[in-house]
Structures are given as structure tokens and as C-alpha cells.
């Protein structure tokens, strides 16, 4: 067992974990952060995407011990949405554009999309499509996911103006 300390969704946590425990397992099993989901075992699907120190990572693709000392944000910490609190602009855009159906890819897709706009606030459609290549969705055909990212990008520009 290895002791780790990190910040998850704004709260400091510490725990003893098996060295082989994946970050996603730590989040789900130890912290109950079940908003982050597991869709594959080859790091292809991206359902488990979270932010590590501000950037999107696939939490199935790193060990919990590697996150020691880091700041992790999951879909549950993206915005204070409990009790009807306001959604993050990307969450709002996914809702507005009907960018989800079954919702299983959605937390990872949203976390990746937020990071995508962080890297490139004004992406072209092709840049969005390539930027989301590591996150699979089986329901939407991506059409409305692309619209959502465009909508969030436009809203972001509006906010800066």
C-alpha cells in the first residue's frame, strides 16, 4: 500500500492505495466519484476522462499513485450543480444541443471538450473532431457533440468580448 494525498474536486483527500490501482478505480471505488465512468480497458474510449492539474487525462491510463500531489477535477467538480446550481458552459451546451443520449460517454466527452477549448478557444469543426478523437460515443454520431463544442466556444468568445 502506498499513501497518496491529492485534491479531488476541491477537497483534499488522502488514502492508502495498492500501487496497481488505477486513478479511475481510486475515484470510483475509494471516493465514490461514480460520475466518472469506465468504458474500455485499452484507453480508447475516454469515458473516464478527468482533469489532472487542469488538463484532460484518461484516468484509466494512469495509476492513482501517479496522481499524488495533483489536483484532479471530475465531472462532479466541474461546476457546483447540486440543488439546481448553474451548469458549466460546456455542460449547458451539451444539454442545449442534445449532445448526449445514453450519457455514458458524456462526462468524459465534456471534460475533454473543456480542455479542448482551453487549448484552442476558437476551433474549426475539423479541429473539434480531431480534438475529440480519443473519446468514443456510440449514440449521437458526434453531430450534436460538435455543435455543443461550437456553441460553448461561441459563448466563451461572447463572455470575453
Amino acid at each position: 500500500m502506498t499513501k497518496i494525498e491529492l485534491t479531488v474536486d476541491g477537497s483534499k483527500v488522502s488514502d492508502d492505495v495498492e500501487p496497481r490501482m488505477l486513478l479511475v478505480q481510486f475515484l470510483r471505488e475509494k471516493l465514490g466519484k461514480t460520475g466518472t465512468l469506465i468504458g474500455c480497458d485499452t484507453s480508447n474510449c475516454g469515458a473516464c476522462t478527468v482533469h489532472l492539474d487542469g488538463h484532460a487525462v484518461k484516468s484509466c491510463n494512469m495509476l492513482a499513485v501517479q496522481a499524488d500531489g495533483s489536483e484532479v477535477t471530475t465531472i462532479e467538480g466541474l461546476a457546483d450543480t447540486y440543488d439546481g446550481g448553474e451548469l458549466h458552459p460546456m455542460q449547458a451546451a451539451f444539454h442545449e444541443c442534445h449532445a448526449l443520449q445514453c450519457g455514458f460517454c458524456t462526462p468524459g466527452m465534456i471534460m475533454r471538450s473543456v480542455d479542448l477549448l482551453g487549448e484552442n478557444p476558437d476551433p474549426s469543426e475539423q479541429e473539434i473532431r480531431e480534438g475529440l478523437e480519443g473519446n468514443l460515443c456510440r449514440c449521437t454520431g458526434y453531430h450534436n457533440i460538435v455543435r455543443a463544442v461550437q456553441t460553448a466556444a461561441a459563448a466563451g468568445k461572447g463572455a470575453q468580448a
Binding site: T34, G35, G39, H98, G103, I110, L132, C137, R138, Y142
Partner: protein, 805 residues
């Protein structure tokens, strides 16, 4: 509508944002794997690496002694109460089907079959110990190739004596629905055109994003199973029917379910083992599969050979169609596995007036993963076949592919139309959808560009593909299912509960897993009862709440389940009328219900439905003898299937020097009748398109020569990413269905059914000029390149043997 009309704006037809979204976009979802119960144990499966092998010994002693392991089970431990996996649709009385036990006794029949189960205090401990289970196998020859299997070269289940499971035949002459196809073909051979083709329907993996997961809680009076399933009611029935637990003691819950596409329309060994083990140990258990397990062991779809003969006159009038199918069942006959090709049997004639039709399907057992419904289930295969044939016939005759289709399709004034397959299409307008699609697509401009590229011998050629599809959905009229030997009915159930506070609870027997029922059904009830959209709560997916139902598949939820809902709502209004009359001191005959208000004809007096609900709750002042309830339920059995249709057009650029395909434009005009929520309909179309396009270009479940699934992960099985697809140009036309009150048609499968032939027709349209007649799906760059090279070689007379294959 006058200015004084205070009717709320109609909810039906509004692009309401979904009620489901908030929990899903904030991570407050409740998927099965999220469930944790006190004392819960975890299962890990030991699976066969061999496609076909005798199990000679299983040594579980090391695993049993491992830390935190509670038990290890093999087939020897199972008793009758473990049940069996059922096939609910024996398509012929003499269908051959192996018994499907949750664990096979002494022989595995596909790679991935479970041979032992480890139960431990954590999922990790269970998996560690699964590695310690030592299984000895004697590998047996495996029946893998479908054509070899139908010839019984190697037997998938030696004790059955054959791989042939069932031969199902429909013949229009025998059925009295049309002529003799052999006569039509021989007439066309002497004075007409005969198109003969053999198409391969590649094996697909549903690849829902949420891996299957099951939790069983045996504590308390009722045993509860949570499962990532499309069919909680069917699972409950099948558990009761096969495991000896009374149905009334079983509660099955499908919580948030992460996609299904037919892939979760199943009763599975994993569910049955979890059920049995929880009862053995009197502890809650959980099993969540890995993606690799899902790809190996959850059922696959398609996998057919289609031998097709189309007869036509020289003028392009189709005179007959003969279909000879071979369908791969895999190693077991899944719940409706044998019936999938039969669902296609009625659709090969599609939108066309074909005077003679013969369909024969041989289902075949092999040593591969079982197959069953995958989005479209039988109808994509049929649509692919006929739409390919129509384009090939047009090419053969040198006719415009639209002109040929129009010459043969049912005209809009000819509905209702009884087809050669014996179905009555209630409505449609193929002319309107096609005209609209051509305009949105820019058909003439793209044809002009295609001609320019051809003339200039551009290395990048343009192809235009057409698919004017229809399908039968809204499963299904119970009598028809009975006549096809299906083991259940096709009705659906709904109930409407008027709560004391004026809110409305709606319970549906359908079981959504991404479709948006909570939103669309709220819209229906809001309009029907004149209550605010926000005040409607739609409940589903829990057999203790939704006490009756047949779940979600076959694009049935709206057209069957929605109709049940309408009828239940209308009963609420009828039950409320005498109460309103009583309270308003009027005659029932003078009560009118409109926009949520019971009014008295010719007066201003009235009561809202919420006020009536409140009065019924208190029950202080009801008509004499009246039951204090205006709640109502309805069970609806459709009298016919439902027939959405549409015209799909696809333009692709094919790089003739590399075989690379780039999709330029995809336009579709779908006629799904009246639309409840255009946003949800569009989403269904988009997702359907992606899956149909994926069959055409990307996806293929490939087994090696020993029967190992080599495309067993997302690394190798190419579920398209955002970068592989384009934005779609999706539109609607509408001829309302006449077989349900709202005039709706199913939309869940339409995009998938329509798109595969549109894409392949586009690819072929680009490369026919090089002598290419067919490219096996998925049309990978390597296959496209090889087809062009082979075609060119034939053209230049330098063909080596087999180059035209």
C-alpha cells in the same frame, strides 16, 4: 385559435431539451456498476480461450485458497435452480438449438464462454484468483467459416448431428401474395435482365458504451436484480421461467443504461450466474464485464451471406426477387437470434411493387460468439440487398437510378398497399421524400462534378449513393408474432397516476436507455392532459414500478408504448368527467375537456384537471358509488407494424491511388410521420447513420482460423470517432401513420437501416468505371484499392486468375 384562447402552446412538435440530461451531464448518473451494497461480493469469469474444446479438468483449489476469495464455481456445482438461457423464437418447429446452460458441462463452444466463476470480496481479488483457476482443454475442430459450417464440414455441436438450425421459407405463390419467382426469373433470362449477386453482411459488435453489468441482492423478501439491460421485464419473466423463483418474488431494475442498440436485448449467462450465486451465498453480488469480455461474449449482429436473384424487364420493371440467406447464429440460439433474419424476410421487397418473391433462410450454428438483434435486426441486411440490387440494375440497364426506383416504387396515392410479402403499408410518400432529398443534397450539381472528375481522369473520383428505404418497426402485433412462433406478444402497457398535488406520474412498460422517453412521453402527456411539461414524471425500467411491459427494441417505444400512454391518458379524462360534472353541478354530457380544463358547455364554469385530481384525492364529494380514483392504465396491442421510410443520399470521394474514402456529404429526408420532439428524432437519425456508415466503412468482427476474436478491443474494432464522420444533413418529410393516434412512426433504427447501402452504393458509383461490381464490407482503403486494381487489370486484359473476385 383566437386571442382569448389560453391554451398552452402545443408540446408535441416542440424541440424540448431533455429531462434526462441534467443527471447525466453532472455525473449524478446511476449506472449498474455504480451500485454498492453492504457486504457485496464481486464476480470474475474464467473464460475459454478456445472456440471449441472438451473440458477435461478444472482445478479450482489454488483460487479457492486465495486471500479474500469466497467461492469458486464450475458447472459441476450448478443445479437446476441455475436455470438456462432461453431462445424465445424457435422459427421452425424442428429448429435445432443446443441447450444453453450458464456454464457448459464439459465442452466449450466459443472462445469467451464462461467455464468457472470466482467470487471474492473485491473485483480485483476475484480477477486475481480467476488467473489461478487451472482448466485443461482438449481442443476440438471448430466450425468457423459460415459456408463450411452450413456444409457440416465440422460440427459446432457434434451431438446435434448438423450445424443447420432452421430453414425458414416464404414464397409469394404459396402465400397467395404474388406470383412464382422461378417463372419470373426464367422469363427474364430469355427476354429481360437478371441480376445475380452474393453479398456478405459483415459481423458487427453492438459496442454500447456501457459494458454490461449486473448486481443481485438476495436479501429481503423479493430478490432484486439490477442489470444494464434493455429488457427488465423479459429478464424477470425468463428468470422465473427457468430458475424456479416465482415471478412475484423477482424485481428487475434497469437503472441508467448506457446504450443497447439491441445488444442488451438478451438474457445472459452473466446475469444467470450472478442470480444463482447471490442465492447460494445469501449476499449481494456484482459482475461488471471488461470491454474485451463484452466484445467476446455479448452477442454480435449481422453475419450473413445473401444470395440474390433479381428479375426485371429490359425497361426496368422488376418482375421477381429471390433471396437465399445463410445466417450465422454463433454457438447458441440467442433469445431472438434465429428470428433476426426473419424480421428481414418481409422487407426485401422494400418500397417496390415486386410481383413475385421467394425468401429462404438457413440459420447455422458455428463456434463463434452468438448473434442476435443489432440496430435494425434483419432489416438493414434486407435494405442493403435490395438497394444495392436496384442500383446495380440501373447500371446494367444504363438507367438513372432514381428513374428505375420510381418506376417500381409504390406511388403515394396507392396507400394503403399490400406488399408481395403480405404486409399492409399504411402510409408513405416516396416521391416527396426523394424530391426533397435531391434538393437538399444538391444532386444535380454533384452529378455535374462527378462528370467533370471522370472526364478529367481526376485521381479522386466522386461517387453518389442512393438508398430509398423503408422498414417495418413498432414490434409488434401479437397475432403476427404468434403466427411466426414467437414466444411472447408485442403489446405495451402504460399507466397514468394523477397525484394529489396536481403532478402526474406516468409509468411506461418500455425501458429507455438513451432514447429520451422521459422527455418525449412528458410532452405527449402534457398535451393530452393539458398539464405543464415540468409536472409530468415518467417512470420506467423497474418491474416493481412498471409492473407490466415488454421493454424497448424494434423502434417500438413511441409507436406502441406511446399509444398505450395516449389511451391511458384518455381514460383519465373519461374517468374525471363525471367528477367534474358532479362538482360543477352539470350533466356529464355537457362537460367538455380542453387544454387541461373541464368546462360546462355554454358557460364559463370549469375546473382544471388538477382541481379534479385534488377532489378525487380527498374524496369528500364524489358522485355516489364512484371509486375515488381517476388513475388509469392501458395495454395497447398494435394491429400492424409501422413503416417509416426515407431517401438517403451519400457523396464520397474515392482516392483511386490509395483507396481512401472521404465522405463529402450525407443528406437524408426521413418520413417518420408526426414528430413529438424534433431534437430527439434528429439525434436518433444521427446516431443511426453513424452505425450504418460504420458497417459500410469501418466495423468488422474478425475471427482467426482458430476462432479467436481478433477485433476484440476498441484498438482493433473500429467504432468511428468524431474524426471519422462528418456533420449530417438530416431533414424530415411527414405522412402520418394511420395506425396510431399520434400518427407517429419509429425512428430508432431508420438511420442504420438506410445508410449502409447509401454509402456502399456511393463507393461503387465512384469506381464502377474501373469494372468494380462489388466491394466486401467494410470498404477499407485496402479493399477499395484492390478492387480498383483488379478491375483495371480486367479492363486492360492483364488480369491474373481471380483478379475479378
Amino acid at each position: 385559435m383566437t386571442v382569448t384562447d389560453d391554451r398552452p402552446a402545443a408540446e408535441i412538435g416542440k424541440d424540448r431539451r431533455r429531462k434526462e440530461d441534467r443527471r447525466l451531464i453532472t455525473g449524478s448518473s446511476r449506472y449498474t456498476d455504480n451500485i454498492v451494497l453492504p457486504g457485496m461480493l464481486h464476480l470474475a469469469m474464467v473464460r475459454s480461450p478456445f472456440a471449441h474444446a472438451k473440458i477435461t479438468a478444472i482445478d479450482t483449489s489454488e483460487a479457492k485458497q486465495a486471500s479474500n476469495v469466497v467461492a469458486v464455481y464450475t458447472a459441476a456445482d450448478l443445479d437446476e435452480s441455475a436455470g438456462v438461457l432461453i431462445n424465445a423464437w424457435p422459427i421452425t418447429p424442428d429448429q435445432k438449438a443446443p441447450v444453453h446452460a450458464p456454464l457448459p458441462a464439459d465442452r466449450v463452444s466459443f472462445a469467451g464462454e464462461i467455464v468457472a466463476v470466482v467470487v471474492a470480496r473485491s473485483a480485483a481479488a476475484a480477477r486475481d484468483a480467476a488467473e489461478m483457476v487451472d482448466v485443461d482443454y482438449d481442443e476440438l475442430p471448430a466450425a468457423l467459416d459460415l459456408k463450411d459450417a452450413v456444409a457440416d464440414k465440422v460440427l459446432a455441436h457434434p451431438d446435434l448431428g448438423t450445424n443447420k438450425s432452421a430453414l425458414w421459407i416464404f414464397d409469394s405463390k404459396e402465400a397467395g401474395t404474388g406470383g412464382d419467382v422461378e417463372e419470373a426469373i426464367s422469363a427474364a433470362r430469355s427476354d429481360g435482365v437478371v441480376i445475380e449477386r452474393e453479398f456478405r453482411q459483415n459481423r458487427l459488435i453492438p459496442a454500447f458504451m456501457e459494458p454490461r453489468s449486473v448486481v443481485v441482492d438476495p436479501t429481503g423478501e423479493q430478490l432484486t436484480m439490477w442489470s444494464a439491460t434493455q429488457v427488465p421485464h423479459i429478464v424477470r419473466f425468463a428468470l422465473a421461467a427457468t430458475t424456479g423463483v416465482p415471478e412475484s418474488k423477482i424485481r428487475v431494475i434497469a437503472p441508467d443504461v448506457g446504450g443497447g442498440f439491441g445488444g442488451k436485448l438478451q438474457v445472459t449467462p452473466e446475469e444467470w450466474l450472478a442470480w444463482w450465486i447471490a442465492r447460494q451465498l445469501h449476499k449481494p453480488v456484482k459482475f461488471t464485464e471488461t470491454r474485451s469480455e463484452s466484445m467476446m461474449a455479448a452477442h454480435h449482429g449481422r453475419d450473413q451471406w445473401q444470395k440474390l436473384t433479381l428479375a426485371a424487364t429490359k425497361e426496368g420493371k422488376v418482375t421477381g426477387l429471390k433471396v437465399e440467406l445463410t445466417a450465422d447464429l454463433g454457438s447458441y440460439v440467442a433469445i431472438v437470434g434465429g428470428g433476426v433474419p426473419v424480421l428481414g424476410a418481409f422487407m426485401y421487397n422494400a418500397i417496390y411493387k415486386i410481383p413475385a418473391y421467394h425468401f429462404a433462410c438457413q440459420t447455422v450454428l458455428t463456434n463463434k460468439t452468438w448473434t442476435d438483434a443489432y440496430r435494425g435486426a434483419g432489416r438493414p441486411e434486407a435494405t442493403f440487398a435490395i438497394e444495392r440490387l436496384m442500383s446495380d440494375l440501373a447500371d446494367e440497364l444504363g438507367m438513372d437510378p432514381f428513374e428505375l426506383r420510381e418506376k417500381n416504387w409504390i406511388k403515394h396515392e396507392e396507400f394503403p398497399f399490400t406488399t408481395v410479402a403480405g404486409l399492409e403499408y399504411d402510409s408513405g410518400n416516396y416521391e416527396a421524400a426523394t424530391a426533397s432529398a435531391k434538393e437538399f443534397f444538391g444532386y444535380d450539381e454533384l452529378r455535374a462534378e462527378q462528370a467533370r472528375r471522370r472526364d478529367s481522369r481526376d485521381p479522386v473520383q466522386l461517387g453518389i449513393g442512393i438508398s430509398t428505404f423503408t422498414e417495418m418497426c413498432g414490434l409488434a402485433p401479437s397475432r403476427v408474432l404468434g403466427s411466426l412462433d414467437y414466444g411472447a406478444g408485442g403489446w405495451e402497457h402504460a399507466s397514468v397516476r394523477m397525484l394529489a398535488t396536481g403532478k402526474v406520474e406516468v409509468v411506461t412498460g418500455t425501458s429507455a436507455h438513451g432514447q429520451g422517453h422521459e422527455t418525449a412521453f412528458s410532452q405527449i402527456i402534457a398535451d393530452r392532459l393539458g398539464v405543464p411539461f415540468e409536472d409530468v414524471e415518467v417512470l420506467h425500467g423497474d418491474t416493481q414500478v412498471s409492473v407490466k411491459g415488454l421493454d424497448t427494441y424494434g423502434s417500438r417505444s413511441l409507436v406502441v408504448g406511446g399509444e398505450a400512454l395516449v389511451r391511458a391518458a384518455d381514460k383519465v379524462v373519461e374517468k374525471a368527467k363525471p367528477v367534474a360534472a358532479h362538482l360543477l353541478e352539470a350533466s356529464v354530457d355537457d362537460i367538455e375537456f380542453s387544454a387541461g380544463r373541464f368546462g360546462v358547455k355554454g358557460t364559463d364554469a370549469g375546473l382544471s384537471i388538477q382541481e379534479v385530481a385534488g377532489a378525487v384525492f380527498s374524496a369528500h364529494n364524489l358522485p355516489d358509488g364512484m371509486e375515488p380514483s381517476i388513475d388509469a392504465e392501458a395495454t395497447f396491442d398494435p394491429i400492424n407494424f409501422n413503416y417509416p421510410h426515407g431517401t438517403h443520399l451519400c457523396a464520397v470521394e474515392v482516392d483511386t491511388e490509395t483507396g481512401q474514402i472521404k465522405m463529402r456529404k450525407y443528406t437524408c429526408v426521413d418520413d417518420v410521420g408526426n414528430i413529438i420532439n424534433p431534437l430527439i428524432v434528429e439525434g436518433q437519425v444521427h446516431g443511426g447513420l453513424a452505425q450504418g456508415i460504420a458497417q459500410a466503412l469501418f466495423e468488422d468482427a474478425v475471427f482467426d482460423e482458430r476462432g479467436t476474436l481478433v477485433s476484440g478491443s476498441f484498438v482493433d474494432y473500429l467504432v468511428p470517432s468524431a474524426a471519422d464522420l462528418i456533420s449530417f444533413d438530416a431533414h424530415h418529410a411527414s405522412t402520418p401513420a394511420t395506425t396510431n393516434t399520434l400518427g407517429t412512426k419509429g425512428v430508432g433504427e431508420a438511420g442504420t437501416i438506410a445508410s449502409t447501402p447509401a454509402v456502399v452504393n456511393a463507393v461503387l458509383d465512384a469506381v464502377r468505371q474501373f469494372g468494380v461490381k462489388d466491394i466486401v464490407m467494410p470498404c477499407s482503403p485496402a479493399r477499395v484499392y484492390a478492387a480498383i486494381a483488379a478491375g483495371r487489370a480486367v479492363d486492360t486484359g492483364s488480369a491474373s486468375e481471380g483478379a475479378d473476385q
